[in-house]
């Protein structure tokens, strides 16, 4: 067992301390038609991992992009690292976004660049020395187990490898918040497990707060009932009935947030949609 606290289903989840890293109040998002999201309020505390569940097409990715100002809300308030970004000019948002890591659904790697240049993209823009870039890229690729892809082009990678490189790109800058958009979507179970292990490793080793979008319950539960063992350098299951208290859930249905709570509260929820989703 590590020193990290774990709680059984009967214990209330420990409320993480400190100001929220992300806070949304009564947010609504609309494009040309009716609102895609409405009355969305939640927050992400330091060291907290929030799993956003919901069926496909319900607005999970839109919500994730709204958190970092890639999509602007119609109304409501979005705070990132304590700053109100709801109406913040795009230019002022760039420094804030640089403090976050975003893993896109299909990786969104730059096809014309090598894996090295993709992972080091932020560092190259900041004109960091080449030797330091190479060292940090090797370190980030080692973290995701893809050191051999250093000089390869992004187009030569498989779907699973692209996601792992995207994770390396998101982590190289030591982000203060990570956003994962369906990181295991469309992948085989073995590759999905590898990616979940990386997310658990980042959560337990670096305690980086995260917001993770998925519609795969098995991934969400794996995040809750596993921990990363640094000695064995792999993810191990928590004892039966225990789960990570800093991993909590949100659920979207028909553009509204219908659940916000711990795993314990999720499995005991009487909401008809939650029950249907879990079953």
């Amino acid at each position: 067992m590590t020193d990290a606290p774990f709680v059984s289903p009967s214990s209330p989840a420990a409320a993480p301390d400190g100001r929220p890293v992300v806070s949304l109040s009564d947010v609504a998002v609309a494009f040309d038609g009716p609102p895609v999201l409405r009355e969305i309020s939640f927050s992400v505390a330091p060291a907290e991992t929030r799993i956003l569940l919901g069926p496909a097409g319900v607005g999970k990715s839109v919500l994730l992009k709204t958190v970092v100002g890639l999509i602007r809300p119609l109304r409501g308030k979005v705070e990132l690292f304590g700053d109100d970004i709801t109406h913040m000019p795009e230019e002022n948002l760039f420094p804030l976004r640089a403090r976050t890591g975003f893993v896109f659904q299909e990786g969104a790697l730059f096809d014309s660049l090598t894996v090295r240049d993709n992972v080091a993209y932020q560092l190259i823009q900041e004109r960091v020395a080449d030797e330091e870039i190479d060292a940090r890229v090797h370190e980030a690729l080692k973290f995701v187990g893809l050191e051999q892809t250093f000089g390869m082009y992004a187009t030569a990678l498989s779907g699973g490898m692209r996601r792992r490189v995207a994770i390396a790109r998101a982590l190289i800058h030591h982000p203060e918040l990570i956003l994962y958009d369906s990181p295991t979507g469309g992948l085989d179970p073995v590759t999905s497990n590898t990616i979940i292990e990386l997310i658990v490793k980042q959560r337990d080793v670096h305690e980086t707060p995260a917001l993770l979008v998925t519609h795969r319950l098995q991934d969400a539960f794996a995040l809750c009932n596993h921990r990363f063992d640094p000695e064995e350098n792999r993810m191990v299951a928590l004892p039966e009935g225990y789960f990570n208290p800093n991993t909590t859930f949100l659920m979207l249905e028909e553009s509204r947030l219908i659940f916000d709570g711990s795993l314990d509260e999720l499995v005991q929820s009487q909401n008809a949609f939650v029950r249907e989703f879990l079953e």
């Binding site: 976004r97 976050t100 299909e106 790697l109 096809d111 993209y121 823009q125």
Partner: protein, 258 residues
């Protein structure tokens, strides 16, 4: 119903013009505020400038040749075939060099810019760039517009030279006239206002093709089909705008130099 449709379309056009103005203005303002991505500017200059060289040389050469053929046929009726050189050089430098190069480069580069940026939009690479804290307007759009402006000016000079050379080739080898006389006429009757006209136009045309290509690329929606649509819109709009702006600039400059 019909009035509503007209009203909606008119509003849509005004909104698009407003969005384009803000977009193109912001892209140009980035030239005066750091960081400026000089490496990207050089890469784009190579793609837009050096890459377009073959089509500009060929189109310029054959346009000059056609001008010499047509003008000699008409001028011979007045016994004035000796002024073919003047006719070709003035027409190429004042008008055709800039317009033809603008349209040729727009066909090649406005389309490639729109499809490249459009593909980046639909695969979330632009969002990824923004999420990484990098301004895509500054990183992708400004270097492309600036490179289009600078390179189109240089390509127009190449096109003018090739056009005059093409006219000379036709005059000497097909019309069997004196080459020295052709070049003497071509040089002797050129005035500074002619050169100014020929050099001012590509600055506007380069800005049009670069900014229109980027604008349609960056507002792509609807997946790969949308990329195709953006590419067509970029080529059509930039080509029509180049001809329209050519008319306006010519009118203004002729008034100034009258």
């Amino acid at each position: 119903m019909a009035l509503n449709a007209i009203d909606r379309t008119a509003k849509q056009i005004v909104l698009t013009v407003q969005e384009y103005s803000l977009f193109a203005g912001r892209a140009m303002l980035n030239l005066f505020r750091p960081p400026i991505y000089w490496t990207d500017f050089l890469v784009q200059s190579d793609i837009i400038g050096f890459g377009s060289l073959p089509i500009v040389i060929l189109s310029g050469f054959f346009t000059g040749g056609v001008l010499a053929l047509q003008s000699a046929a008409t001028l011979s009726a007045f016994g004035a075939t000796a002024v073919t050189g003047q006719f070709v050089s003035v027409t190429m430098i004042r008008e055709l060099g800039a317009v033809l190069t603008g349209i040729m480069v727009a066909g090649r580069n406005a389309s490639s810019i729109a499809s490249e940026l459009g593909s980046m939009v639909v695969t979330e690479q632009i969002d990824a760039m923004r999420a990484l804290g990098v301004d895509p307007i500054r990183k992708l759009v400004t270097p492309r517009i600036f490179a289009s402006v600078v390179m189109l000016l240089l390509l127009t000079i190449v096109s003018d030279a090739c056009g005059i050379a093409g006219g000379a080739a036709v005059t000497v080898f097909l019309n069997h006239q004196n080459g020295t006389q052709y070049f003497h006429q071509a040089y002797e009757h050129l005035r500074y206002p002619d050169i100014v006209q020929g050099m001012v136009k590509p600055l506007f045309f380069g800005y049009i093709l670069g900014s229109i290509g980027c604008f349609y690329g960056m507002r792509t929606t609807g997946g790969t089909e949308g990329v195709g649509r953006s590419t067509i819109q970029a080529v059509v709009t930039s080509s029509v705008l180049i001809i329209f702006v050519d008319f306006l600039i010519t009118h203004v400059l002729l008034t100034i130099f009258a």
